[in-house]
Symmetry: none
Subunit: 225 residues, 2 copies
DNA sequence: GTAAATTATGTATAATTTGTGAAATTTATC
DNA sequence: GATAAATTTCACAAATTATACATAATTTAC
């Protein structure tokens, strides 16, 4: 799956950088624009913008105007950033087709959550296939694993194993159970095979490797502290 | 499935009642606390709180402090209620492990939606087999033992032994019986071995260790006064 | 109160289980 | 069919736990 492209429009470069950093960490492509007219140029030039994040207060062409312009040609999802709750002319925004508001200051977590919610709503990304726990994002459909936003390469079995662990977060899993689920039920191999895969998984997961706990005498457990 | 228990902490009784009413309507059990210290008492006394809804602004112990205390022992989901967007010190909350924010005023509908989303996300909707007695919570699926909400580490045999005791609460168990159940039926070792395991179990259980009673000349019994 | 029986406890040793690296085998790809 | 990659097996080291045993403490019976 290709990365989705998000256009971030704000006159403050600090704010743009902040937003960009968090989106990039969460596997989005980000294009920046420092004012409304640049934003419009970029938007109509690049045809694959999946979402626009728009600051309301900007010199020259303000957020509302940019929104209106974009809307006259496209129904791309738009998130408005507002400095204060008062600034939210929500009625106007509603008429203009704003999808979501986020008040400054906002937490990166919330920003990303809203972005994902909207993309899911507008059908640009299927969330059902994404597992998230302890800073690990696993996309089943795309067969991609991100650790703190950084992609790691896993083999097929390693991916299957991690998926099984994450789908059974917090549960103690015996080797037998793991074999029956991740391997075929008629697999007659050595249960110690799992150890080897766990070892490789842990090492590829770096620090996060210790989220796979050993339950001595029993098996393994994926657990987020 | 049993109803899930939610702890609502707010100094305003009006607000507590409002929240409670809507949660009860949606089939949750609700426990109320009027301030932070009461909340902590309740949380550690009742071991089956599935989620905590916490007002930030409270006299004496504030929401952040309660959050921090709970987090040092438990990873129960926490929702923070904030009066204004400004009050949301989201970075702090993020570090403390807050799962969600809801700004006052909020619609009951949103509150319930967030609660359900979190419970779904944290996989609490499925009630796994948990044994509870005398402040001891034993989760077989997760291979976890909580004593007054605090997790203790048990070895495989210790866990098995405690499980057997709790499954036979109030029954006198001879060493022979214990050997046949917890150990393999063909185990020919010393029956006194059990003593050693009971000793370690008791010590790891702290005060609760005395729930395992010695029946002189006979064996042991797990009993809650 | 005392002796006998039973249990509690600390410790050393045995046994088991897991981690790890490397080799062998299987599978996929060109 | 050769090559590379992934998977599995294996052997041994390291870690952890289980057990036995000696001795202390406690309980019971008389």
């Amino acid at each position: 799956m290709d990365r989705l492209k998000i256009l971030v429009v704000d006159d403050e470069s600090r704010m743009r950088k902040l937003v960009k950093d968090f989106l990039v960490k969460n596997n989005y492509d980000v294009v920046e624009a420092e004012d409304g007219s640049v934003a419009l140029d970029i938007f109509f030039e690049q045809k694959d913008i999946a979402l626009v994040i728009l600051d309301v207060m900007m010199p020259k062409v303000d957020g509302w105007e940019v929104c209106r312009e974009i809307r006259s040609y496209s129904k791309v999802p738009i998130i408005m950033l507002t400095a204060k709750a008062d600034e939210r002319d929500e009625l106007q925004g509603f008429q203009l087709g704003v999808d979501e508001y986020i008040s400054k200051p906002f937490s990166p977590k919330i920003l990303v959550a809203r972005v994902e919610a909207i993309l899911r709503r507008t059908g640009q990304v299927s969330a059902d296939d994404v597992l998230e726990a302890g800073g690990i994002q696993l996309n089943k459909a795309a067969h991609i694993v991100l650790i703190d936003g950084r992609q790691i390469d896993l083999s097929y079995k390693e991916f299957e194993l991690l998926t099984y662990f994450m789908e059974n977060k917090g549960l103690a899993l015996s080797r037998e159970k793991i074999l029956n689920s991740v391997w075929n039920y008629d697999y007659f191999g050595d249960a110690r095979t799992i150890d080897t895969h766990v070892k490789k998984l842990r090492s590829k997961m770096g620090e996060k490797g210790n989220l796979i706990k050993t339950i001595w005498g029993m098996g393994y457990k994926f657990e987020v502290e």
